[in-house]
Amino acid sequence: MAQTINMDAVPGGDPKKKALPSDSRYGWLKALWRNRKSRVGVIIFLVFVFIGILAPLIARYSPTSTNFGLLQPPSARHWFGTTGLGQDVWAQFVWGTRSSLIVGFGASVLSTILAVAIGMYPAYRGGRLDQTMATLTNIFMVIPGLPLMIVAAAYVHETNAFSMMLIIGLTGWAGRARVLRSQTLSMANREFVWAARLTGASNGRVLVREILPNMTSLFFASLMYGVLGAILAEAGLEFLGLGNLTGASWGSMLYWANNGGAVLNGAWWWLLPGGLAIAVFGMSLALINFGLDEVTNPRLRVVATMKPGRRRYGKLAGKGGSFDEA
């Protein structure tokens, strides 16, 4: 990281470029905090991460222990009530946070690496390799992901957190490979890339040191959506009874709530935490991305920041009010 920042200070770098705060390579991190939506996202995200890290300290009970009364509503003793098997739902939620985040990040890192290798590198090299990889990406984009994962997971048989990561990571890269590819294509002929090439930098070096740092925000967005996708995929697989259902995860909580009759018994406290955790965590990732998008996507800023655009838009918006009454 420090090295790439130093790159900005390379003599001959465009001084005007550095004057604009949003153009500095890590300026988007600050902008992320300044944007209200993404700040809320970052805070929620960190809360979940801390719950995951502190799981052994705050869980209070073992998530698999069945020593408690069956289907007890939330109380001081059991904050989130108990399951139909007499397990503590809070303990399951806390430990589930840890395992779901681990699988989510693990799978996303794997699929992002694949997306970079399949989407970015060939796009930069161009030619036949790029054609082949682009076709491969398009094929994997249209083959439905969940059914493919289901069949793969069904064959693996003894699934654990690691094999889960592999299955989700190996199948879920295509959409992001396509985004990274198109961005790389637009970057490959920029002047600074040519400058680096002409100084004799190797392809890999140009890609990692020149192109990638300019795509950090997109790269992070890709990683984030990968995490959400992986958590949803894991929950989906577990809902079919695939994966390790003896351990606690958000997905297995939903599986047991469904198969243990939470709906029939009116045990809303058993039903709510797993799905709500996924949705709120997913929301935090989307909010962060939303902020990223507004910071980095100039198209969305045209209206908001360019002076003529704003003036134009201000009047339009004023009229927009009358649209309601019309």
Partner: protein, 328 residues
């Protein structure tokens, strides 16, 4: 014409890829389906029965190329093996009975999500940076992350078992016989409401955001200033000038949306015991019924590929630029 051929080419290539994945996957994995099936009977299977099972699964000791050829020939004849769950019903029959339900449910939900999401997107863009826009766009970040199975269970809990407004399972009342009569179709629709709603809510957000962002882009275009200058009403500006131009790229969303919907439908069908491919896939997984599982995977994939092909054609028809880009 060139464009159509090109899309057709991609359809064939991707169909071949799906068929080949279906062949390779079981052979890549440790153990083979026949052994797994045999282990279900706890070693009470004679070597001869095991051999029969292997034959049924198409697992032989012949070279892979021969196996692959045999597999393709079987596929052409519609021989996908026999389902273990519904023994001795052929897999193709199970698919034949379940695929229409899934296509109907998924199709209906996709169209509703697209229309609703697009209109909300138009509205959101028009209210850019105001409360309504903020609420809608922030709302989608939540709805977009809702697991389908969870929302399905909640709806089942509240509107099904709680208020008894909607049926809690199956695609039509058991007392009815499937016909093309109006009461039966009404009954099917009634049963489809909750499952469809479960798919629409998480799926809508992507349409909304896409349309909103496209709209905001078009709002900055010169023709919008011109429209205003020549005195077009706000409603006219919004619907006939901005939205029309922003709508086109939304069509490309279908490819992503379909993949998302297929995943959702599978989970939703399990929650509502809806007799489509998702529910059958669940049965196949629970019973380790590999022939059925693979047949379902293949047909779900092929359906998605065909739908994508049709959307591509539609897009090419709507936007001549896409055709020309294909020719370049």
């Amino acid at each position: 014409m060139r464009y159509i051929l090109e899309r057709l080419g991609f359809l064939l290539v991707s169909a071949w890829a799906a068929i080949t994945i279906n062949f390779v996957l079981p052979r890549m994995m440790p153990g083979n389906p026949a052994l797994i099936a045999a282990s279900r009977y706890q070693g009470q299977v004679s070597p001869r029965a095991l051999h029969a099972l292997k034959l049924q699964f198409g697992v032989t000791n012949k070279p892979l190329v021969v196996q692959y050829g045999q597999y393709l020939i079987n596929l052409l004849h519609g021989h996908l093996g026999t389902s273990l769950t519904y023994y001795p019903v052929p897999v193709i029959t199970v698919i034949d009975n379940s695929l229409p339900w899934t296509l109907g449910l998924a199709g209906m939900a996709t169209v509703i999500a697209a229309v609703l999401g697009t209109f909300l997107g138009i509205y959101s863009a028009w209210k850019h940076n105001r409360a309504a826009d903020s609420v809608l766009t922030t709302g989608t970040t939540f709805t977009g992350a809702i697991p389908h199975q969870w929302l399905g269970l909640l709806l089942l809990f509240g509107l099904g078992y709680g208020l008894h407004w909607f049926p809690v399972a199956h695609s039509y009342s058991p007392s009815m016989t499937p016909t093309w009569s109006l009461p039966f179709i009404e009954n099917v629709m009634y049963h489809a409401i909750l499952p469809a709603l479960t798919i629409v809510v998480p799926g809508m957000g992507a349409w909304l955001l896409h349309m909103r962002n496209n709209m905001i882009q078009t709002l900055g275009e010169d023709y919008m200033v011109f429209a205003r200058a020549k005195g077009v009403s706000s409603r006219g500006q919004m619907l006939h000038h901005a939205a029309r131009n922003a709508l086109l790229p939304s069509v490309t969303n279908f490819a992503m949306a379909i993949a998302f919907v297929v995943g959702g439908v599978i989970l939703v069908e399990i929650v509502f015991s809806y007799p489509g491919v998702g529910y059958q896939l669940f049965m196949a997984v629970s019973n380790e019924d590999y022939p059925l599982m693979q047949g379902l995977f293949l047909f779900v994939s092929l359906s998605v590929l065909v739908v994508n092909f049709l959307v591509d054609l539609l897009y090419g028809w709507l936007d001549p630029r896409a055709r020309r880009a294909g020719e370049a």
